[in-house]
Amino acid sequence: MLVFAISDKGGTGRSVTGSNIVYRRALQGSDVCYLDFDFGSPTAGAIFSVSSAARGTAQGGMHRYLEGRLADPHRIDIWSESDREGLRTKPPGAGQMVLFPGDEGGGEFSTVSEEMLQRCVRLFARLEEEFDLCLVDLSAGRSFAAQMALAATARLPGVPFRWLVFHRWTRQHIIAADGLVRGQQGLLAVGVQHGHDEEALADHIRFVRTAVLEPDAAELEGLRETQKAWLNECDRELRELAGRHRVGRTSMLGKIPLDPVLQWREQLISDEDVLSSQIANAETVAAFDDLAKKIVDDSAWEAL
């Protein structure tokens, strides 16, 4: 299955959440890969702690592959090549976890040619043979990468795909997420131009809220009653706004709580980080775990 990760705004938590979902899914026993299609700033290597690809690879990544300059894009086996010691042993029963990094100094595409699209289709079809889940991290906003993804999936009717739209829990983010899907030149409109059925495509799109601070979170315990009341009111308003923009509970696949570790550093959160060093919150891992299951759980994707 192909899963496309997109957000309207930058810095939403798309890459960090996407990487952690992939990691959780591998631990759950699936063969997974992560494709860095954020050609302008391919930083997935840093999240997986592969320093040689922290800002993209020099050995031929996604960008150069799509340009037709190499036949086999560089692949990084995280279980053996990560710099992080805790990641370098594949737990028994875990699946493969492979990163296809972007290119150092790649840059966004300014057009999608037919040849490029064909290469993209071929890549997706090949990876589908090998991996249960391929997560494609697109850049923020309406990009050529997103357009290519829509066009490619329209040509691969036998390959299941899903879209995750990431957004933060704020007014601006909620409105923007709706616009990215249903607005002018949004995913649905562009998808239809490339041959998707609008309703069917809409059924393959869900929203994910990132870095959410619930009004009743432990972090907010010391607040005054007046502050708590105000926060509750804000949250209520946001929920209402989200509902109006069809970004509400029914079209949401999951939400990830604000996590102290992720606020400081873009990384995978291991069980170790929660259990032994206790730097990360158990709720964060539980949310990633849950999302990793829901992505492939058909009952979470029934037509709305």
């Binding site: 063969d31 036949a71 028994p92 071929r122 043979e129 036998g158 390959v159």
Partner: protein
């Protein structure tokens, strides 16, 4: 003469095995000609030969700039209605000319790539075996893979494979002797079979770092690399025959089966996961793979010694048999346990 090729092997993207009649349609997409099928001891269907014209650098261990012009000979095949292979190879000879000739010249020599200037066989052999397609050099693997992709994209396949699996890459290099061998270690001028040279049989083309290659008789060395790459080095004093390609494809097929079964068994977490889970993970192997093991079934007699060598070390069939027994035992035990739990025993 130097012959090199790359075979890529993978699971046909279909829920079940496809019948012989469908093999025709699926492989027939590659060209108008008929697909060849043999039925015993296993259904094997192979596409007509495909030619790809090339004019590019050939990999060389010393990174010398070696230009080759000619055609790559490729084919796609389906074994047991279940496994797909893309296979490409070239025979390397020295060009008699110092410039590129008309394409009709090269098209008349299917699968021959002519190189310009003086080249050393071990340098090319080593360069290809070790690095495959480095720096824009001829990439036989990606040619093979293209033909596989075309088959996998066939509308006759439902794309619902029973399990995920990686394609494997077997890169092979054969140094072939035969009549006309000059023993200089260089490719001699010529375009046909009679102009072969560079065989280790004549002592001049000893391949550095491959101690097992005996200078007297046929020799074989198989190496497992990373990223699903395997390399196979062959010395064939008797010269090149198309049977070499069959042998390499057969080996690639069985290596894929073994590689894939190992992964399935590892993932089943025998002893840790519940009996139901273990059985569910192993079942696809029983349904789709175990019956496909038939090493050397379709090969010329002459290649039997090669298989025998490989059976001694690394011992393909030994490892396969022990895995198969493990799978069957697990399924038997788990079925018994489930029956007992259900109160039937």
């Amino acid at each position: 003469m130097l012959v090199m090729g790359e075979v890529r092997t993978g699971l046909l993207q279909n829920s079940g095995e496809i019948p012989e009649s469908l093999c025709q349609s699926v492989l027939g997409l590659l060209s108008g000609e008929r697909v060849r099928v043999s039925r015993r001891p296993i259904v094997y269907a192979v596409s007509p030969d495909q030619l790809t014209g090339v004019d590019c650098r050939l990999a060389s261990a010393s990174r010398a700039r070696v230009r080759g012009v000619g055609t790559v000979l490729s084919r796609a095949s389906v074994t047991g209605g279940r496994l797909l292979q893309g296979s490409s190879h070239i025979r390397v000879v020295r060009s008699e000319s110092d410039h590129r000739l008309s394409w009709s010249h090269y098209l008349a020599r299917a699968g021959v790539v002519e190189v310009f200037g003086k080249v050393r066989v071990p340098d090319l052999a080593e360069g290809f075996a070790e690095n495959g397609a480095r720096d824009d050099c001829l990439d036989l693997g990606s040619v093979s893979e293209r033909f596989m992709d075309a088959v996998q994209a066939s509308p006759f396949l439902d794309r619902k494979a029973p399990f995920r699996s990686a394609r494997t890459r077997l890169r092979w290099v054969a140094e072939c002797g035969g009549p006309g061998s000059t023993g200089t270690g260089n490719t001699s001028a010529g375009t046909g079979a009679g102009a072969a040279s560079g065989s280790a049989a004549s002592g001049g083309a000893e391949i550095p770092g491959t101690g097992v290659l005996s200078p007297e008789g046929p020799a074989i060395r198989f190496t497992l690399g990373r990223d699903q790459v395997r390399t196979l080095r062959l010395v064939l004093p008797g010269g090149f025959t198309p049977g070499v390609v069959d042998f390499c494809e057969d080996l690639a097929l069985h290596d894929w089966l073994l590689t894939t079964l190992l992964v399935i068994v590892e993932r089943a977490r025998v002893g840790t996961a519940t009996r139901g889970e273990v059985t569910a993970k192993l079942a696809p192997a029983v349904d789709h793979l175990l019956h496909l093991w038939m090493p050397a079934a379709r090969l010329d007699e002459g290649f039997a010694p090669f298989w025998e060598t490989l059976e001694r070390r690394p011992g393909f069939s030994r490892q396969w048999q022990s895995l198969v027994e493990r799978v069957r035992d697990q399924i038997a035990i788990n079925t018994l346990a489930l029956l007992r739990e259900a109160g039937g025993w």
